[in-house]
Homo-oligomer: 312 residues x 2
């Protein structure tokens, strides 16, 4: 019976990298220990102008916009939020191992076009912003183990990023928890009024083909654990199956007492570099040898809310 | 308003690779078209001795065991199933972007050890079966775009597989939907009585460190859309939050009328090779150019139930 109970612990240990086992050949600090020893200056507090609070019946999702990569999209989304565009819209699609998508259900086939929310003063088209020029002034934390899809990968400004040095371009990678901008065939047809979050294996085919609006910092389970849509491509077959979006607000528009104290570990910090090395070379009695490698979507910038880890 | 509605279609189009657009420079068959044109001989019907039907309150999950890779685990799991070991157990853990795990909750801290299900005649330990020797006689469908973690990747016997030719070994990759065997620190401590399914980005650090019992063929949403556990490492904090396992049965033990007509596309078939090439080089008006690459966890062997795709 021992194996049943203990296996729970051990499989968990794999995830955290934690180990207090006495038989460890070369003890290495665990992720938990590294975070506990991090310095206050290694954590950044996102600009409240970039934090979206999306209130669902189940709880609040906090999204950080990515204006360093997609400034025009960030500005348009702020305009949509302040025009109350998203309030009363819905999550209309949850496709297993792919995306959770929210927008105006009256834009769907069978919807009532007359009831669609107005974009107000927001733009209906935007320049694509799929990639940006590599800027040597921006901090860059490379991952050394390569990537199937891009010449280089690493972290910049808190996000997983792929680079093509020959083209002088870089773009955020569509990893789990990233928020993207749905669009029409025309590259300039996205405007931020329809967004999705990645809830499965990173769909790398979307990289540099859809703009990345930002990243979910808190509340991914409210998006990832929703019932999958049974219609084509994960759309809900019935309107009643949709999850209503009660409101989307900018943290900056709320009084400080209503803002969550969210912090994100800087990806150019020594502690984040140590987390990468622990994932690659940390010793754990469970393994005969360290993993030795790390993929771009296999680590992310840790998040704290009120000083505590945001993810269990 | 156009972009909102159309973007739904286009993002969907990315997924299926489908396109009937008139402006396509070089039309390539979509995945749907390739599957529709597949020949009956390209599909295999899994041996009912290898098919587990796991009945949850929400529906049935169908798992195919992988005796070509882990024969001793497959045999032990069959013994456990036929001893009704799993009937009345529970899903005890759902950790976001990682695994859904089921086993005997009375093995947990606070559980009643006296109420634990007996393993019966099943073995309590097993040789690890983490890897197997590369056998040139086995069909091998390579992916040509490399891998971060392993020297070679491809498909064998329906599963995503990584290879180390220098060591002469190969092992199934822990992609989304793969079913693994939880274990204790000792490599031989897994026995199949505690299993997990991968529900997020492939946790490649588990590769060749945990035995792969098989793959979920049907019903992944019943495992992936469960509420995340709020206890440490995704364990449910309260017993009432667990999902009960009503029963686990072998298809072979049911009368034919109660067996689902499940078929899996052979990964050594021309159609599967064509699906790989469509994913890598298929043209779609949405992209300026084809993706050009394909990762080992970015495609899987398609499944049909009663002749229809098992996944929406």
């Amino acid at each position: 019976m021992h194996a049943v109970a203990s296996s729970l612990f051990v499989l968990a240990g794999l995830l955290t990298g934690a180990s207090a086992m006495a038989d460890q050949a070369k003890p290495t600090p665990s992720a938990k220990e590294l975070l506990a020893a991090s310095k206050p200056a290694e954590w950044r507090t996102p600009d409240p102008q970039n934090l979206l609070y999306m209130q669902l019946p189940q709880g609040r999702v906090v999204i950080e916009l990515a204006p360093d990569f997609t400034p025009l999209h960030a500005a348009n989304i702020r305009t949509l939020v302040r025009g109350h565009y998203f309030d009363g819209l819905a999550i209309v699609r949850v496709q297993d191992n792919f995306v959770t998508q929210w927008d105006d259900p009256n834009g769907d086939d069978g919807g009532d076009k007359a009831k669609m929310h107005s974009l107000g003063t927001a733009k209906t088209t935007l320049p694509p912003e799929f990639t940006r020029a590599i800027n040597p002034q921006q901090p860059w934390t490379p991952l050394p183990d390569g990537d199937v899809y891009a010449p280089q990968v690493g972290f910049s400004g808190g996000l997983p990023v792929a680079r093509d040095p020959a083209a002088g371009k870089e773009w955020p990678v569509q990893c789990y928890g990233m928020v993207g901008v749905a669009r029409d065939v025309a590259p300039d047809s996205g405007n931020g009024s329809a967004l999705y979050a990645v809830i499965g294996q990173a769909p790398r085919r979307l990289d540099h083909n859809l703009a990345v609006a930002g990243r979910v910092l808190v509340g991914m389970p409210y998006l990832s654990a929703l019932p999958r849509g049974t219609g084509p491509m994960g759309f809900y077959a019935k309107a009643a199956q949709r999850t209503p979006i009660l409101s989307v607000k900018l943290a900056a528009d709320l009084p400080p007492a209503q803002q969550e104290k969210v912090q994100v570990l800087r990806t150019d910090s020594p502690t984040f570099a140590a987390l990468i090395e622990t994932a690659r070379h940390g010793h754990n009695p469970f393994y005969p040898e360290p993993v030795g490698k790390l993929g771009i979507c296999d680590i992310h910038a840790p998040v704290r809310v009120n000083g505590k880890p945001a993810t269990p």
